[in-house]
Amino acid sequence: MSFATRMRLAVKQLLASCVLIALGGLLLGVQVDSSGALVGTGFAPLCIGLVVVLAAVLFSSWREAPVPRDLLTALSATSGFLGLVFVVAGVLAPGGGWMFFELLLLVVVLSRAATRNAFLSRGAIVLLVCMLLFRLWISYQGSRHEWQLMSLEVPILSSLPFEFLAPVQSVSLGEFSPRELGFPPAGLSFTPSLALWTVGFALCIVGLAWRARAALEHENDRVHEAIHELPPTLATLVERVLPEAQWPELGLHGLSERALRKRIEELVVARIASRRELDRALHSRALLGSTNPGGFAGELYRALTDSAPDVPSSTDTP
């Protein structure tokens, strides 16, 4: 496969992942009411999601974040950010005291994941799935007109057959209202809404993960393209000095064309200089001193090595 074909494949993957994210966001933004009409889930959850993701980005932004350079990278960055906002807005239970706990947890987990250059770590995905299940559960309860998380029966009291005890025979946990949940005025039709939200969530998560991989591949292709502007032998040497696996850590991703070439130049010069330094040290006589056993034999050994002329290194060039 030619390089250009490979690069176009990475671009296609990047675009396809952005389409998935946008479609997922679309499905997460609607719900079905009892008359079968599509109703929006409201801007409030979206704004809360925006704040959470922004906070996570800011808390983790001590690293230098790459800046989009062209249309494609700008679209990729926007889709990645909005995709995360859609997912967070889609899983948040929009109301009740538990929402603040959810917000805190999400900011901590997403910030930690972002500092490792991957918003969607395995832990973050597990947390998001758990939150989605929680939201689906309270929506299900709401669709049955049961406005609490669950009702627990009080032991002993609940077994007594006296109606006057009914108010204390069970305890309601986590009460909420349809307004808090952003239900449509005509009531929520749970099954189609469940289908929309779960498919939307899955599309967003798959899109985000795919986008991360495609973006990495796209950046690697750019670095590869810059290196292969050199004569083939020299390009191969540079790729051996700067292995592809180290490119993200070496800060080669997200740079402008000019900055990328300057950075490769700096890194190659620095690495070759350190390699030479190492070689020189390895071939120096001073290194032999470390093998001196000391004592009578050592004194003789030192006298012999100190008086001997330096052996020229095979790597030293005149």
Partner: protein, 267 residues
């Protein structure tokens, strides 16, 4: 290579535009406002639809019952003409179950069955006759706890609701009569389950509750359209039904508020 990438730039720009548009739509759809729920009895009806159908169940039903005659389906016309006046012409307040075993009572019972299986106008006519029967006969259990009369009326209501509750909840003509029938069923079953001021027949109470659950909740426990309509029209009844105490109390109170003359004794 660069030229190959340049050649693909067109579709990259096109797809980018599509994604941007899609992202915009994904944000914009969140603002779609939901229309408020319109209950079936608040929906506009057809020009020739029956107006104020609840009047056919009230004390003035005798004044309008003839209106239903031309609307009764052809199969039930003969039986209708032969029996529909019987509950309106009743005198001396016979006991419900006793009158129903007379030739006129049996004719009415057969007519009720035919009407229940007919059109929505037939169904409304069936309810009009059941409510009139409840007004013109005695079904109060009394000190001897004779519950068979109220049980008979509750049975008519139950049969009708079993056949029509789901359809009626979305029919502007039948929605209100259906709600009134649910309330009346609760009233009659209250008399059956608690014929005296103290004590309760749990079997009848549980039977009534199970039937009400079956028409107000679907198989997975979610509210039916009838439940939603009942909640909109009689929120107190739904609260009482969900409250866990004597659920039939709320039905009884609402039924007596709507039909004060339905006390088991002829007015």
């Amino acid at each position: 290579m660069a030229s190959e990438l340049e050649a693909g730039r067109g579709w990259i720009v096109a797809t980018t535009c599509a994604v941007v548009a899609l992202l915009g739509v994904a944000v914009a759809v969140r603002g779609i406002e939901g229309a408020p729920r319109v209950e079936p009895f608040d929906r506009p009806t057809e020009a020739d639809a029956i107006r104020e159908p609840l009047q056919f169940l009230g004390r003035g039903a005798a004044l309008r019952i003839a209106e239903l005659g031309p609307r009764i389906s052809a199969e039930s016309q003969t039986a209708w003409r032969a029996a529909y006046r019987a509950p309106f012409d009743l005198k001396d307040c016979p006991q419900t179950a006793e009158w129903l075993v007379t030739p006129a009572g049996q004719r009415l019972e057969r007519l009720l069955g035919d009407l229940r299986r007919g059109t929505r106008e037939d169904a409304l006519a069936a309810l009009a006759l059941v409510f009139q029967l409840a007004r013109a006969t005695e079904w109060k259990p009394g000190l001897l706890a004779k519950t068979q009369h109220a049980e008979k009326l509750a049975g008519f209501a139950q049969d009708w609701l079993r056949a029509w509750s789901e359809r009626a909840a979305s029919e502007p003509v039948l929605a209100e009569p259906a709600l009134a029938t649910v309330l009346a069923y609760g009233l009659w079953m209250k008399r059956v389950s608690q014929p005296r001021p103290i004590g309760r027949r749990d079997e009848a109470y549980d039977r009534a509750l199970a039937f009400l659950q079956s028409i107000l909740r679907d198989g997975s426990g979610r509210p039916t359209a009838l439940y939603e309509a009942l909640r909109a029209r009689h929120p107190g009844v739904v609260s009482g039904f969900e409250g866990g105490r004597d659920a039939l109390d709320a039905f009884e109170a609402a039924a007596l508020q709507l039909f004060p003359e339905l006390n088991g004794e002829c007015p």
